[in-house]
């Protein structure tokens, strides 16, 4: 089989992080219908030219990225939650990233989303920036019951 050689510094970007702790991660919901950051302590399965720190995905260049997550949620019995990505650099929601689900009964519910995000130069001041920071957020649409996360896998791949 052919070796892939040393490729770390040629701009190829992909990563996979996961949450595998036996203890559920709890997102404190302090207000109804209000977005809160998910600051999951993810471990690294694979990481190349991307990074993750305290819930924030750090993108170091413009381009089109595939972002895919698989999470299992519990908590807030029969509550309706919404989840999205938020671009901290642009201070705006990543369009098309919102999903909503009900944590019916006491079960854990698996939720998956895959999207392509076009990150272009951000003009937030005098100079353009080609770095972006994106974080996952959640809100409880019904009350202030907390959200539990049983497992999480986050894949990011630069497509173009």
């Amino acid at each position: 089989m052919a070796s892939i050689g040393n490729f770390e510094n040629i701009g190829v970007k992909f990563a996979n992080w996961g949450y595998v702790d036996e203890t559920d991660y709890v997102v404190d919901i302090l207000a109804t219908d209000t977005w809160f950051n998910i600051v999951l302590p993810l471990i690294t399965q694979v990481e190349n030219n991307l990074s993750y720190n305290s819930g924030v995905i750090n993108f170091t260049g413009n381009g089109i990225y595939m972002i895919q997550y698989v999470n299992t949620f519990g908590g807030g019995v029969d509550d309706s939650f919404s989840i999205r990505f938020f671009n901290l650099t642009l201070n705006e929601e990543v369009s098309g990233s919102v999903l909503s689900f009900t944590t019916k009964g006491t079960a854990y519910w698996e939720v998956q989303n895959m999207m392509l995000v076009n990150l272009s130069t951000a003009y937030t001041g005098s100079f353009g920036k080609s770095t972006h920071q994106i974080i996952m957020q959640v809100k409880n649409n019904i009350d202030t019951s907390n959200l539990k996360i049983k497992s999480s896998s986050l894949v990011v791949i630069k497509i173009l």
Partner: protein, 154 residues
């Protein structure tokens, strides 16, 4: 025409099975390999599907592989299940954990990226999949659908 970042040799596979055997945990919390019986393949490129049982998922190139699995499972009443992939003993750290609430049919998804470095291996080696359970249920876990896509991303 735009070029993507993937300038290395491609590889991919898409397959499915509706005949994977039930897993009887019998109270055991040990992981069980999901034996890939009855796999059918829609698309194969640079994978060896022959395997010892005729159902292999063996990449022919070193590299990094994106794995996506979609499952439909039934039984395992109210057990917490864990599912993951590995290549040649190199387990992904990433797990899918879900609950077989009510023993109903649940559809779940798993994704991860796994590196393949063949080193001294002369033969292609398979990706494998494992499932474990809290195993308090007397019910077996029935795989109704097992759909897998693997794409070499570098």
């Amino acid at each position: 025409m735009a070029l993507n970042q993937f300038t290395t040799q491609s590889a991919w596979i898409n397959g499915y099975s509706e005949t994977i055997k039930n897993i009887d945990f019998r109270g055991s919390r040990l992981p069980f390999e999901v034996r890939l019986f009855g796999m059918e393949y829609n698309s194969v490129y640079n994978f060896d599907t022959s395997g010892s049982s005729g159902n292999g998922l063996a990449p022919l190139m070193d590299g990094y592989y994106l794995i996506n699995v979609s499952l439909s499972t039934k039984g395992g009443l109210n057990d917490i299940m864990s599912f993951w992939a590995e290549w040649e003993g190199l387990q992904s750290k990433v797990r899918l954990v879900w609950e077989q609430k009510g023993g109903n049919t649940w559809s779940t998804n798993y994704n991860t990226i796994i590196p393949v470095f063949s080193g001294s291996y002369s033969n292609a080696r398979n990706f494998k999949f494992y499932v474990s359970s809290t195993a308090t249920s007397p019910q077996v876990l029935n795989f109704i659908n097992f759909n897998v896509s693997i794409i070499k991303i570098y």
